[in-house]
């Protein structure tokens, strides 16, 4: 074929951790840098790409499936900020059907109809809901789809558990041609101990932090306008951080198999950190009393 290889990246993380925000900013930064990018939202809520399109929802691939006997997957591709391509897999309402099967179906439809090749893309970025609860949510990390997975996590233990779970999924598929782990995108990192917790976790699981992203009001303001930070506040420091992250992801070539912690190790690890956190808390209280 002689066509360029499309770099496919999957970004996972616990719900509400800032996954879509971060992913949309990465996509925005990459199109701004001149690449052809598609962001593929894999969440039944179908809101991954909203901030790339002025806060607007787009019809999802599975909306097309619901309404048509035959699906033309091209009709699910929309353009947003600086021409970025936006696709939402979509899915059933909460409590019915099978969201995992929805992802399988949506990804298959686009692949069968050669949509990625036709658009001559440089990057496809899958923004995938959370915990890899079933086979469907693992589709983007399987053979022949994404090559690199990044996970977004804060220093919150629940987010780290979700990341660790994802590592287990990656390890399962790694021996069978699946995607490997590029690293952790550390989100909402506003203090040294946040950073320490994440650093310790990546060391224990033999991966790396790709970027530390502080919590920022700029992001919230941009989101409220239905925009990415890159679009709404292009000169802000936060936008610079997202651009740096995007560049690192663009330059990233070598991913690895992580070493997830087992349930016991994870418990021991988190309780050791809990002790330290209590200690930090006490110190701050003492300081406050002293002052």
């Amino acid at each position: 074929m002689g066509k360029k290889a499309i770099k496919q990246i999957a970004i996972y993380g616990k719900g509400g951790i800032g996954k879509s925000t971060t992913t949309s900013n990465i996509s925005a930064a990459l199109v701004e840098a001149g690449y052809k990018v598609m962001q593929f939202g894999c969440d039944p809520k179908a809101d991954s790409t909203n901030t790339l399109r002025g806060g607007e929802y787009i019809p999802s691939v599975l909306d097309l499936l619901r309404e048509n006997a035959r699906v033309d997957a091209h009709e699910a591709v929309f353009q947003g900020f600086k021409g970025v391509y936006c696709v939402e897999a979509g899915g059933p309402q909460p409590g019915v059907g099978c969201a995992g099967r929805g992802i399988i179906t949506a990804v298959q439809l686009l692949k069968q109809q050669d949509v990625f090749e036709e658009l001559d893309l440089d990057y496809v970025i899958y923004d995938v809901l959370g915990d890899v609860v079933c086979g469907g949510f693992a589709v983007p990390v399987r053979e022949g789809i994404a090559e690199h997975v990044f996970t977004i996590s804060s220093a919150d233990f629940m987010a780290i558990y979700a990341a660790n779970n994802l590592f287990r999924g990656i390890k399962t598929y790694s021996s069978k041609g699946g995607a490997l782990l590029g690293g952790v995108i550390a989100n909402s990192i506003n203090s040294d101990f946040h950073r320490d917790i994440i650093d310790d976790f990546v060391e224990k699981t033999q991966t790396q932090v790709v970027e530390y992203i502080p919590r920022s009001l700029t992001v919230t303001q941009a989101e409220l306008q239905g925009k990415t930070t890159i679009e709404a506040a292009p000169k802000s420091e936060q936008a610079a951080i997202y651009r740096r992250l995007a560049r690192k992801i663009a330059d990233h070539t070598e991913s690895k198999v992580p070493s997830p912690l087992d349930a016991k190790e994870l418990r021991a690890w988190s309780s050791s950190w809990a002790d330290q956190l209590i200690e930090i808390e006490r110190k701050t209280q003492r300081l406050a009393v002293g002052a």
């Binding site: 006997a69 035959r70 699906v71 033309d72 099978c98 995992g100 099967r101 399988i104 298959q108 692949k111 069968q112 109809q113 050669d114 079933c134 086979g135 469907g136 949510f137 693992a138 589709v139 399987r142 053979e143 022949g144 598929y173 021996s175 069978k176 041609g177 699946g178």
Partner: protein, 508 residues
């Protein structure tokens, strides 16, 4: 859009071709609504699939699953194993398919053996925890027990829903065992028509068995895509100095691999051969013979001439055609006299029915009605020379009551009442008892090659005479049985009345 072999999952027939399973009207109207007649397609409707207005009934009384078509194709490769990655219920077809396979082998003079089918027997806990470990175990068991040249894996609705990663296990074990391990995605829910199962098997074979960049070419070898029928193609093609490579059923893995070395590919039914033949041409440069199917004089003449043209054997074909016309004509004349005024009804797969109706009309039998189990508005090659329905209409005239329906008993009664045939020709025999209860004998075409070519016209004519001899027996049955339907339904003239009510009463 061309066939896409990059993904492991085959695109369904309705997606590729716009296949329908419910329609009722004149054959000529269906032909006009089909893609071939409408000519070039606008960008908006995609390159292939075109819509025909389809009747959708409120319920289905009987059908077949895509997975079963995988069983009766991939499961019939002699030195391969098919693993059904499914709950055990999907394996109920093994019994009947084993008998068909054994009969087929015996008819072809091949060593009779049992099917090599293994079910992973997925249980509740496998649905919860994933079935991949069982699949891996089954592949290893298959390897130890049968030492196969290839292992096919048929997926199921269950594995499709839980998202079992069949591909990665297959890739891993293919490397380890050194034989093709081929996932075939045939989840029943993926397509409304079972023929997608043919395509799923052929997709896997094209991707993982057919030899890429073959070192040699076999200029006298022709791939014949068929099922289990008797060997009528070897003597026919021998007249042109050609050898037959029968695929997919009862072939060996090597015979499948060598398809890329052949001079051409032919079929006798585009429903069956469409995907594989188009894929062989697109990916391996093996030309697909694009001609009417080999039924009746017109079809067989054109089919032979096109094979001869593609393989540079025109002279031989003309001699053979002339000799065969000469040979069959005397008996054909007699059969025409004997069958004059008889009415036949064809109830088979789609393209196959187009061929059989032609044969009946060659025999002078009246055909006012037919039930085909689905309709493809276009085949994968999109070449109008393959438009089997238009060929039928152009050469043998229209069919007044042409019905598309996936073998619904409750509709079949009214369908037969409309035309009151003297006999029916049937495949998928489940509808035959209903006809028998109406006093109509059936010719079950177990050997799908029975009516092919010049001899096929005589074969079918003799079979009709045989079956008409049972007329009295069937009339006796009719006199003594009661149909299971209410009087109101028996009076109903329109077999699709329920579908029309649905169309009017609910959403678009």
């Amino acid at each position: 859009m061309p066939i896409n072999l990059k993904t492991a999952v085959v695109e369904s027939r309705e997606q590729r071709l716009g296949t329908i399973i419910g329609w009722d009207g004149k054959a000529s109207d269906l032909s006009k609504e089909s893609a071939y007649a409408r000519g070039g397609c606008e960008a908006k409707c995609g390159q292939k699939a075109r819509r025909i207005c389809e009747l959708q009934g409120p319920f289905t009384q009987g059908s077949v699953c895509s997975e079963q078509m995988v069983e009766c194709q991939a499961g019939n490769v002699r030195d391969a194993v098919l693993i059904q990655h499914s709950p055990i219920g999907c394996g109920t077809g093994q019994v009947i398919y084993n008998s068909i396979f054994r009969n087929g082998l015996a008819i072809r003079g091949l060593p009779v053996q049992n099917l090599h089918l293994i079910s992973t027997n997925l249980l509740e806990k496998d649905m919860v925890f994933g079935g991949i470990a069982k699949l891996e175990q089954s592949i290893r068991d298959a390897w130890k027990r049968h030492n196969p040249k290839a292992i096919f894996i048929a997926t199921s609705c269950a594995t499709g829903v839980i998202g079992d990663d069949v591909e990665s296990v297959a890739t891993q074990l293919e490397e380890e065992l050194g034989i093709p391990v081929i996932p075939l995605h045939c989840e029943g829910f993926k397509s409304k028509h079972w023929s997608t199962g043919f395509d799923a098997t052929q997709h896997g074979i094209l991707r993982q068995i057919v030899r890429k960049n073959p070192e040699k070419k076999q200029d006298d070898l022709v791939n014949v895509i068929n099922l289990w029928g008797s060997d009528v193609f070897t003597p026919m093609l021998a007249e042109l100095g050609l050898r037959v490579n029968y695929v997919v059923d009862m072939a060996t893995v090597e015979e499948l691999a060598q398809m890329s070395e052949a001079a051409a590919t032919v079929g006798f039914c585009y429903t069956l051969s469409s995907y594989l033949a188009a894929g062989l041409e697109q990916e391996f440069g093996v030309p697909e013979v694009k001609a009417p199917m080999p039924y009746g004089f017109a079809g067989t003449d054109a089919w032979l001439r096109e094979i001869a043209r593609v393989t540079n054997r025109e002279g031989k074909a003309e001699n053979y055609i002339a000799a065969e016309h000469e040979r069959v004509k005397p008996r054909l004349e007699e059969l025409r006299k004997l069958l004059k005024g008889k009415r036949g009804y064809v109830s088979t797969g789609s393209a196959y029915a187009h061929g059989l109706i032609g044969v009946l009309r060659e025999l002078g039998v009246d055909v006012d009605g037919s039930l085909v189990f689905h309709h493809d508005p276009v085949y994968d090659s999109q070449d109008p020379r393959e438009d089997s329905l238009a060929h039928l209409i152009d050469h043998y005239g229209d069919v007044e009551h042409f019905t598309v329906g996936n073998r619904q008993q409750y509709q079949f009664y009214a369908l037969l009442q409309r035309v009151k045939p003297d006999f029916i020709i049937i495949r998928h025999n489940g509808l035959a008892p209903l006809a028998a209860k109406l006093g109509i004998p059936a010719i079950p075409l177990g050997d799908e090659h029975h009516a092919i070519g010049y001899q096929g016209m005589l074969n079918l004519g003799e079979s009709i005479l045989d079956v008409l001899a049972h007329k009295k027996y069937h009339q006796d049955i009719a006199a003594h049985v009661k149909l299971p339907y209410k009087k109101s339904w028996l009076k109903q003239k329109d077999p699709f009345v329920l579908a029309r009510k649905t169309a009017a009463g609910s959403e678009k």
